[in-house]
């Protein structure tokens, strides 16, 4: 194997390792941190089924964002939706053995690259030209968009501008990563840039604002059932305080003890 192939193979594993460890750590952290009070935000569902529906609407349709800002919703939603389609489009490369028919049918998903780029450019334009957004943006906020745009752009150059890398090599490399049967990867610059940036993105997932993805499921304002009067909600630390009578008003004493 060439040095480039070795470096890229190691880099892929490293970024996946960072992703898995980092994300697991954050999810366990969110899971274990208690939510001591009921703080669902209106319009708050009174039943679990309502919470599930709310989550589905938020995650799939970005309902709250739709209420806030139509442009941000439009650009944001088409970007995310395109990203999902493109993810499925890429599975075919990593599938070891015979490719299921359903994956073969994802071929047209490649056109999702256009809404992806439009969405990202729209978001970048908003961030650059709306004074309020410019004020709240750190360099990393722009860089994240640029990173995604370059990933999308390099992908499109390969797909739509006759810069196809050797697909057999790509396939062997990708499947090799899954089956630990490593092989050479194509040395086209565009291709290398594309996968390098994708693995950068994967690596920084747990240490960046990409944590909004797991975060939304743990957001107490969205995932709580509004039933505090009927069912007692108490956190472990508050229960402990209660048992140890840290804050207590003596029941049988005179006023103002």
């Amino acid at each position: 194997m060439s040095l480039t192939s070795i470096i890229f193979t190691l880099f892929c594993y490293l970024s996946l390792l960072l992703f898995i460890i980092g994300l697991s750590y954050k999810i366990i952290q969110y899971w274990q941190t208690p939510a001591p009070l009921k703080i669902p935000i209106a319009p708050a569902p009174l039943k679990v089924s309502g919470v599930i529906m709310r989550m589905i609407r938020e995650v799939l349709l970005f309902e709250s964002l739709f209420k806030s800002s139509k442009w941000t919703w439009f650009f944001g939603w088409i970007f995310h939706f395109a990203l999902v389609l493109l993810f499925f489009r890429h599975l075919v490369y990593f599938w070891p053995g015979e490719i299921p028919v359903i994956l073969m049918k994802t071929e047209p998903f490649k056109y999702a690259a256009f809404p992806l780029i439009i969405g990202l450019l729209g978001l970048l334009a908003r961030r650059s030209f709306v004074d309020r957004l410019r004020y709240i943006s750190a360099p990393s906020d722009y860089l994240m968009l640029v990173l995604l745009i370059v990933i999308g752009g390099t992908g499109m150059l390969m797909t739509f501008a006759h810069n196809h890398p050797n697909m057999l090599l790509v396939k062997n490399f990708a499947v090799g990563l899954i089956t630990f049967n490593w092989s050479e990867l194509p040395s086209d610059l565009i291709f290398l840039a594309h996968i390098f940036l994708v693995f950068i993105l994967i690596a920084i997932f747990p240490i960046s604002k990409l944590l909004h993805a797991p975060g939304i499921f743990f957001s107490p304002t969205l995932n709580q059932v509004d039933n505090a009067r009927k069912r007692r909600h108490i956190s472990s630390w508050a229960m402990q305080k209660e048992k140890q009578k840290e804050i207590f008003i003596k029941q049988n004493s005179e006023k103002d003890e």
Binding site: K26, Q29, Y30, T33, A35, P36, L37, K38, I39, I41, A42, A44, P45, L46, E58, F62, S64, L65, K67, S68, S69, T72, G76, V130, D131, R132, L133, Y135, I136, A138, P139, S140, D141, L143, I204, I207, K209, L211, H212, G215, I216, F218, S219, P220, T221, L222, D226, A228, R229, K230, R231, R232, I234, A238, K241, E242, I247, I249, Q251, K255
Partner: protein, 516 residues
């Protein structure tokens, strides 16, 4: 009228271009060492405050999932930037919800995240230095914790949670706000925010009884500390003395009188408000809730009803069961005792609007709506009721029930523009511990979005009465309405409308009819 430069109300509220530092300053008055002492906070800024503050931040993020997730999840999409009434009213960019959170988040990133530790400039991570602390104090006291931003955030990020966390960190290092902390001291010592002792309270209630009897000829009672009454009524202490609140209290009394349900107030727990929430202190909030539990147990009541107070209702509805087991499911001795004592046929606690609404549904109350015919009423959804509670155990009941009660008592009702009511309601501008004269400029400017919506209703529907169910809203509106060329007396309690239209019968008459 307070002297603050405000523009005339526009026909439509535009999103202002940012103007940096329009609300820069020292923030509200700081709490004196004596005030801080009473609450167990350091009297003055401690020497190693930075270290203590960072430790407290670590504790808070480990105890509150909300804070931990909200600090991580924000993508700076900007959806919230034009949702805060203080931003719309002041144009100061640090009043944009995300920018307010970022004061806290930038320090969190610097100390608790990989990117912030090693690439602070890249991710906007900042040190907690004197300038940052000043910004914290100033701008976390320009948040009324109304949670409007959270409704519009795609992740439900609630700036109130962050501002509560920040205020708690500041209290722990000895930087407290005078207004909130002084009130918390009073409630713990005397039982209400005013520091009104029992004899004064009793006198006030007797005066009110006389006043009602003179006006109506019916002996409507205002009972205090009556053992074994059915209902313990817990109401914001402003109801005992402030206008227009007091007319709401009279309304509750008339409703109880008509209902035939025996009731009492408690001199030990004569306050529904719970400022512990504003400063993010679980302990102080629990203390306030325990007072009410104690009063309920001592008086042997079977129901607890809460008066017209916004954050009090949020604390009562959403937190009391957690804090002190008022409700069901708690297992400590006194909570179990209370569960036995309380009547499970009713929600515990219950809002006075729920109580009145039930009576209306059952046909127990009779109204002469024409008594309110001079009024064209609109309803201001108070933020804590609207976004942090429910009524009637039906979806969106907190929006439906108060409107139904108003409509039962009034012929003319019209809502304000849709984007400014219900879950999207604009704060009055004085909530969250900001109802103090040292913040008057902020209060006036922050009321602008609500005032603008009111003006639209005035022009379109001839609205001349603004009804609310929150003591803070009522006080705030009385004060700021004149700044926007409205009549300060147009703000009323919902139960004042009830009171004015309710047909009273005296007790003997009721009994006589019942026996027929």
């Amino acid at each position: 009228m307070a002297e603050v430069d405000i523009d005339k109300l526009p026909t439509y509220l535009k999103i202002p271009a940012i103007q940096k530092d329009t609300m820069a300053g020292d923030g509200p008055f700081k709490a004196s060492p004596e005030i801080q002492d009473q609450l167990g906070f350091p009297g003055e800024k401690v020497e190693n405050w930075q270290q203590i503050a960072i430790e407290k931040m670590a504790e808070t993020t480990s105890k509150y999932r909300s804070v931990q997730v909200f600090l991580d999840a924000c993508v700076k999409c900007g959806a919230c930037t034009d949702k805060c009434h203080y931003y719309l009213g002041t144009a100061d960019p640090k009043n944009m919800p995300v920018a307010r959170q970022d004061l806290f988040r930038s320090v969190y990133r610097r100390h608790f995240t990989f990117a912030g530790k090693y690439f602070p400039k890249l991710v906007g991570a900042k040190e907690l230095d004197d300038a940052m602390l000043d910004d914290w104090y100033n701008y976390f006291h320009q948040c009324s914790q109304c949670r409007r931003c959270a409704v519009f955030c795609p992740y439900g990020i609630d700036t109130a949670e962050i501002s509560m966390a920040a205020r708690e960190v500041m209290n722990v290092i000895g930087v407290g706000q005078k207004y909130s902390n002084q009130i918390l001291g009073r409630i713990n010592k005397i039982g209400n925010n005013l520091g009104m002792p029992e004899p004064a309270l009793r006198d006030t209630l007797i005066d009110l009884e006389e006043e009602i009897e003179k006006e109506t000829g019916v002996a409507v009672k205002m009972p205090l500390d009556i053992n074994h009454a059915e209902v313990l009524m817990v109401t914001p202490s402003a109801d005992f003395f402030a206008e227009p609140h007091i007319d709401g209290l009279i309304g509750y009394a008339k409703v109880f009188h008509q209902s035939g349900v025996t009731w009492t107030m408690s001199s030990y727990a004569s306050e529904a408000a719970n400022f512990g929430m504003f400063i993010g202190s679980y302990e102080l909030m629990r203390q306030g809730a325990l007072r009410i539990r104690k009063a309920a147990l001592d008086l042997g009541v079977s129901r607890i009803v809460v008066g017209e107070c916004g954050h009090a209702w949020r604390v009562a509805y959403s937190f009391w069961n957690t804090l002190s087991g008022i409700g069901s499911g708690a297992i400590d001795e006194y909570a179990l005792k209370l569960q036995k004592q309380l009547d499970s046929n009713y929600p515990q606690p219950q809002h006075i609007i729920e109580f009145t609404y039930d009576l209306i549904q059952k046909g127990i109350l009779t109204f002469d709506k024409t008594k309110n015919d001079h009024r064209k009423v609109t309803f201001h959804d108070s933020c804590n009721v609207a976004r942090g509670s429910n009524m009637g155990n039906i979806e969106n009941g907190q929006f439906i029930l108060p409107r139904e009660v108003i409509k039962a008592a009034c012929n003319h009702f019209a809502d304000m523009p849709k984007a400014t009511i219900k879950a999207s309601t604009f704060c009055c501008g004085g909530g969250g511990g900001l109802l103090t004269d040292d913040l008057i400029e902020l209060r006036i400017k922050g009321a602008k979005p609500r005032m603008q919506a009111l003006k639209q209703s005035q022009e379109n529907d001839g609205v001349n009465t603004l009804a609310a169910i929150c003591a803070i809203c009522k006080s705030q509106f009385s004060k700021v309405l004149p700044n926007y060329e409205f009549d300060p007396y147009m703000i009323v309690s919902v139960h004042q409308l009830v009171s004015d239209a309710l047909v009273l019968r005296d007790k003997s008459q009721t009994k006589a009819e019942d026996s027929l």
